[in-house]
């Protein structure tokens, strides 16, 4: 039997979401831009979805919701739009953090080449930024603050509401990549003082290839894709109606179930952390309190992450790692480096992300299997031998 513990990568679609999509593949298949009745039936569904997504996010007006192809597109468009608005006013400074998703970081790198300056705030050992850091970094040239709601690798939840308040006070636009947060913890764009927010459906049991960019009224988006008048001219291309309907149903379901799923998953997460802490010379990555309910992230000394994942997979546990070998790059995860893990320790990282269907039994199996696999790899590791012999110093006590 397979235990899927990689829900931060993607989730299984819920039956509710699948059922919500089906009618839009055969019965209501029209193009919402068509004037005839078949098209208008599709347009009605699209309008309904927009209203429901706006309500689920606490947005004031459905017009603030733009449907995209996913989180990466939403991040790109949010940042590009805010940068352009800033540039028109002669403001070319952006504030972000060192451990954002690459959809944000790579967009910022491009903007730097185009003449913007970016301040990357330190996320400390606990994986958290403070509103005070943001406040101190804002200058008269700042046009945008972009900070993720919750980190995809270590699960830390940023003080978004307070950061949003700092930005409001300073008159600076605030974008948050909420791809890992929406559907997992309460998110409300109005209460959280958010101007721009990105989300992705497949992270909360919705379909892949669809997401949302929320833009508060008055924040003018610029389009990345030209061609048609869809999404008020901000995103050309015939709308992915089945995807949008599936996402809307998944979002409503996830948000409605939060009072149940959050405490349940938090308890399982804490048990998993407790169990894995019995492995010597291993440590949790990121703050334990301000943390996504389903995220467990560890570093184990003396082993490498890819071999850990392959053996876990053999034992029926699907997980992920921030080691260089799993990413195809030479460096381990930028997130783990940002919280101060040295390279050799970051290579031995393990991320387990639970979902609402994970059982207590699954968690016990994961603990048992992980202990076995770590011990097996350490038994053949020259690094572990040196650590045990005192020839190399442990980083994790």
């Amino acid at each position: 039997m397979t235990i899927y513990a990689d829900n931060a990568a993607t989730t299984r679609m819920s039956q509710t979401a699948i059922q919500a999509m089906l009618p839009y593949m055969d019965r209501i298949y029209g193009n919402p831009s068509s004037l005839h009745s078949v098209g208008q039936a599709a347009m009605e569904a699209l309008t309904d979805a927009r209203t429901r997504v706006a309500a689920a996010l606490g947005a004031e007006n459905p017009r603030e919701i733009t449907f995209t192809s996913g989180g990466s597109e939403a991040d790109n468009q949010a940042i590009r739009s805010a940068a352009l608005l800033g540039k028109r006013k002669g403001k070319t400074h952006i504030i972000s953090t060192a451990f954002e998703h690459h959809a944000v970081l790579h967009t910022l790198k491009k903007l730097e080449k185009e003449g913007f300056t970016v301040t990357y705030l330190d996320v400390h050992e606990n994986g958290l930024v403070t509103p005070e850091q943001v406040e101190a970094a804002i200058t008269p040239e700042t046009c945008l603050v972009t900070i993720m709601y919750a980190n995809n690798e270590i699960g830390t939840i940023q003080p978004i509401r307070a950061i949003g308040a700092v930005c409001r006070k300073a008159g600076v636009l605030f974008h948050t990549d909420a791809v890992q947060a929406v559907g997992h913890i309460p998110v409300n764009v109005r209460e959280d003082n958010i101007d721009l927010l990105s989300l992705s459906a497949h992270k909360f049991h919705g379909p892949k290839g669809v997401g949302v960019l929320y833009a508060k009224r008055g924040v003018i988006l610029s389009s990345l894709i030209e061609g048609g008048a869809q999404e008020r001219g901000k995103r050309a291309g015939t709308e992915n109606l089945p995807g949008i309907m599936g996402m809307t149903a998944a979002l409503e379901e996830a948000v409605a179930e939060l009072p149940e799923t959050m405490p349940k998953m938090t308890a399982l997460r804490d048990r998993l952390i407790e169990g894995l802490r019995e492995i010597p010379h291993g440590a949790v990555n990121g703050d334990l309190e301000h943390r996504l309910p389903g995220n467990v992230s560890f570093c184990f000394e003396g082993i490498e992450g890819e071999s850990l994942l392959l053996l876990l997979d053999d034992a029926g546990v699907c997980a992920s790692s921030g080691s260089a070998c799993t990413s195809g790059s030479l460096d381990p995860s930028h997130v783990l480096l940002a919280i101060g893990r040295p390279h050799e320790v970051a290579h031995g990282s393990l991320r387990l992300t639970l979902d609402r269907d994970t059982s207590a039994e699954d968690v016990e199996t994961i603990i048992r299997v992980t202990k076995d696999v770590v011990a097996r790899l350490r038994a053949m590791s020259p690094v572990w031998r040196d650590l045990m012999a005192g020839k190399r110093n442990f980083v994790i006590a």
Partner: protein, 143 residues
């Protein structure tokens, strides 16, 4: 298609010759922990043959499989044959490696050569320096 060939997975799951030789005649260690892989080879040499060989590896699946295969390829071979081991031979014996994992086979070759060199040095045996070129200036080591 799977990331690795069945051969790689077999040698990764059931690595041959894992361990340490306490009274080894030659020991070689290459790679560094910062890059994410270290290989250590222990040799026991008798009558100019590789009488025994063991390895320890910290690294990814292909690093473990490459070390395992490299030890299999030289075990019982005359020293002169073992010295001819190439990373291509290791890769071929494993039915190939993904392009970004080829450096693992290079490390395996280098680890074996480092152990042979150590054997020569310890035993005062003269050798041709050109047989042991300095570590390839591969991208891998430039972090």
């Amino acid at each position: 298609m799977a990331l690795y060939s069945d051969k790689v997975m077999d040698h990764f799951r059931n690595p041959r010759n894992v361990g340490v030789i306490e009274d080894a005649d030659g020991v070689g260690e290459v790679g560094n922990a910062k890059c994410g892989d270290i290989m250590k080879i222990y040799l026991k040499i008798k009558d100019d043959k590789i009488d025994d060989v063991k390895f320890e590896t910290f690294g990814c699946g292909s690093a473990i499989a490459s070390s395992s295969m490299a030890t299999e390829l030289i075990k019982g071979q005359p020293v002169s044959e073992a010295l001819k081991l190439t990373n291509q031979a290791v890769t071929e014996a494993l039915d190939g490696l993904p392009a970004h994992k080829l450096h693992c086979s290079v490390l395996a070759e280098e680890a074996i050569k480092a152990a042979m060199k150590d054997y020569y040095d310890r035993h005062g045996i003269a050798y041709d320096e050109s047989q042991f070129p300095a570590c390839h200036d591969c991208e891998h080591c430039r972090i």
